[in-house]
């Protein structure tokens, strides 16, 4: 079973992600803030890390830079509500994928499945329009 770490400084975002991915076959780990994320990374191996960009103490880019060193095989994804282009450009250097908030659950699921080398899960519930990825 693949393990995915989600990092955000907002508890609500993590809770909602947990709900939205309740039928996924991955093991989901949630860390509120970069510090908690680093502890999780030290504790176990992850196949993918999905993190917020703007966080206090340490931002997503710094966090993923650490992930690249400590777990180079992990897929690195940024999920950000920051619409400034410079932030996204900076992120692109250390990440595999940049997703813009709000990002529909199906988009996130497909992205993760593709990055983890699995067949994309067909999304039966289109519900929310998938938001375009930051170009």
């Amino acid at each position: 079973m693949k393990t995915v770490l989600f990092v955000d400084d907002e508890r609500s975002v993590l809770d909602a992600l947990r709900f939205a991915l309740f039928r996924s076959k991955w093991k989901l780990v949630f860390a509120c803030g970069a510090r908690a994320a680093l502890e999780e990374i030290a504790r176990q191996r992850f196949d993918a890390v999905v993190t917020d960009l703007t966080m206090p103490e340490m931002d997503g880019v710094e966090l993923l830079a650490r992930v690249r060193v400590e777990q180079p095989d992990a897929v690195r994804i940024i999920l950000t509500g920051n619409i400034e282009k410079t932030a996204a450009d900076r992120a692109r250097q250390v990440v595999d994928e940049v997703l813009a908030k709000p990002c529909g659950a199906s988009v996130l699921r497909e992205c993760l499945a593709r990055r983890l080398g699995e067949t994309p899960i067909p999304s039966s519930q289109g519900g929310i329009l998938p938001s375009p990825r930051i170009p």
């Binding site: 992600l17 908030k101 709000p102």
Partner: protein, 443 residues
């Protein structure tokens, strides 16, 4: 009438008088010499009066229109033929040796006094008079003196006129410079206005990007929660659901709904705050300062939430008479500055800062304080922070317009915007706005 005009008139009168005296003296000499030739005498007298009239007319009429130099040149041309006529018909030498040089002298003198020419003229005339053995050497000397006096007067007048002309030219130059300066000032004002507009747009752009960020977070968890609720409902409605998944769905549904409500509440608050900021620019009226402060804090949350905690100490204050949109702009500016000041102090250190926002009544004013424990304002820039375009911020973080515009807005409201700051310890901005007059209140 200026001093110059008065001097010109005085000197012109004196010159005319001297001309008349010279003329009378010459005439006396003429009559004395030509007493035995009545016809010649009358011609000479007629020519003299003609010259007198022309001279006086020239002095009073032409001087004003043409200036000294051209008037005197004109007089030479007037006197020359008269002199020739008198000399031809009278055969009288005094006319030639006084009138001709005299005319020339007035012309020369009015442009530039040439003392050597003057002396040469006097000596030459005296020598000629002695050589001719004219018996009226003394009256002739008197004429000479009058001529000298007239020449000096003419010179002074010329000087005055030249000075006046120069002054006039300088004034024209000054006027031109003044006009150019005014045009430049106007152009500058236009440019400043445009920059202020650009700054406002930039501020709105920055705000928009921050607000988008703030909106995206609740949208994200609302979206995920709704996905869960949809899929969970489908699971519940399915004839044979997976019991484990069903239990999960049942357990989490209330929390998912709470998240939806929370997210919608946050988005609503942000949109409401934006509406406050976009308040029509013209309307001024009673404004609730405390509400405005809460709005400003909602809108700027993305600027301070990573660096500082905010403490609100709102007093029971009366409404102020203000344009809500403009004052919101000022408050947003002060809070953003406080957050930036704390952010600057925090480089290389993660201690969270504190922003204290308070309001209280102070006489006929409401005093609003925005205090931060940020980097503080350096003594060297204290006097400059309200100047347009002054900034210590990096490019892209501020154009140095915010406080200049804030002060302009506060001035328009009859309020004050001041600050106290200690380098490294923090800054407190104090905004004082006049209370709104309560209409219909019993005296």
């Amino acid at each position: 009438m200026t001093v110059n005009d008065a001097t010109c008139a005085k000197l012109t009168r004196r010159m005319t008088l001297l001309d008349a005296m010279t003329g009378v003296a010459i005439q006396v000499l003429t009559v004395a010499e030509l007493a035995s030739h009545p016809r010649r005498m009358w011609i000479s007298i007629a020519a003299f009066f003609g010259a007198m009239v022309l001279n006086v007319a020239a002095n009073f009429a032409l001087m004003e229109r043409w200036g000294a130099a051209r008037t005197d040149l004109m007089r030479v041309f007037l006197n020359l033929p008269l002199t020739l006529v008198v000399t031809h018909f009278t055969g009288w030498p005094i006319a030639s040796w006084i009138w001709l040089p005299y005319s020339g002298m007035t012309f020369v003198a009015s442009r530039r006094v040439s003392w050597s020419v003057l002396v040469a003229f006097c000596v030459g005339t005296a020598a000629l008079a002695l050589h001719d053995g004219v018996p009226w050497t003394i009256p002739a000397a008197f004429v000479m003196l009058a001529v000298v006096a007239r020449t000096i007067t003419g010179a002074r007048l010329g000087a005055v006129v030249r000075f006046a002309e120069k002054t006039e030219a300088q004034r024209a130059e000054l006027d031109e410079a003044h006009r150019k300066l005014k045009a430049e000032v106007a152009a500058r004002e236009t440019a400043e206005h445009e920059l202020a507009q650009a700054h406002k747009l930039e501020a709105i752009g920055r705000l928009a990007s921050g607000v988008a960020h703030e909106m995206n977070t609740p949208l994200q968890f609302v979206s995920d929660s709704v996905t869960f609720l949809e899929e969970g409902t489908a699971e519940l409605l399915a004839p044979s659901g997976d019991p484990l998944a069903l239990a999960d769905v049942r357990a989490n549904m209330p929390e998912a709904l709470r998240l939806v409500r929370e997210g919608l509440g946050r988005a609503t608050a942000i949109v409401a705050s934006l509406r406050e900021l976009a308040h029509p620019a013209k309307n001024r009226g009673p404004m609730d300062v405390n509400h405005a402060l809460e709005t400003a804090l909602t809108l700027t949350k993305h600027e301070y939430k990573y660096v500082a905690d905010v403490e609100l100490a709102l007093g029971d204050v009366p409404a102020v008479d203000a344009n809500a949109g403009e004052i919101n702009q000022v408050l947003v500016n002060l809070v953003v500055n406080a957050a930036h000041a704390i952010g600057d102090r925090q480089r290389g250190n993660t201690k969270r800062g504190r922003i204290v926002v308070s309001s209280e009544r102070s006489g006929a004013f409401v005093a609003i304080r925005v205090a931060d424990d940020g980097i503080g304002i350096d003594d060297s820039v204290r006097d400059k922070i309200f100047e347009p375009f002054f900034t210590t911020k990096d490019a892209g973080r501020g154009t140095g317009q915010g406080l200049a515009i804030a002060r302009a807005i506060v001035d328009r409201h009859g309020g004050t915007l001041s600050f106290t700051s200690t380098r490294g310890a923090g800054t407190t901005f104090v905004l004082r706005l006049p209370c709104a007059r309560v209409v219909g209140q019993a005296a």
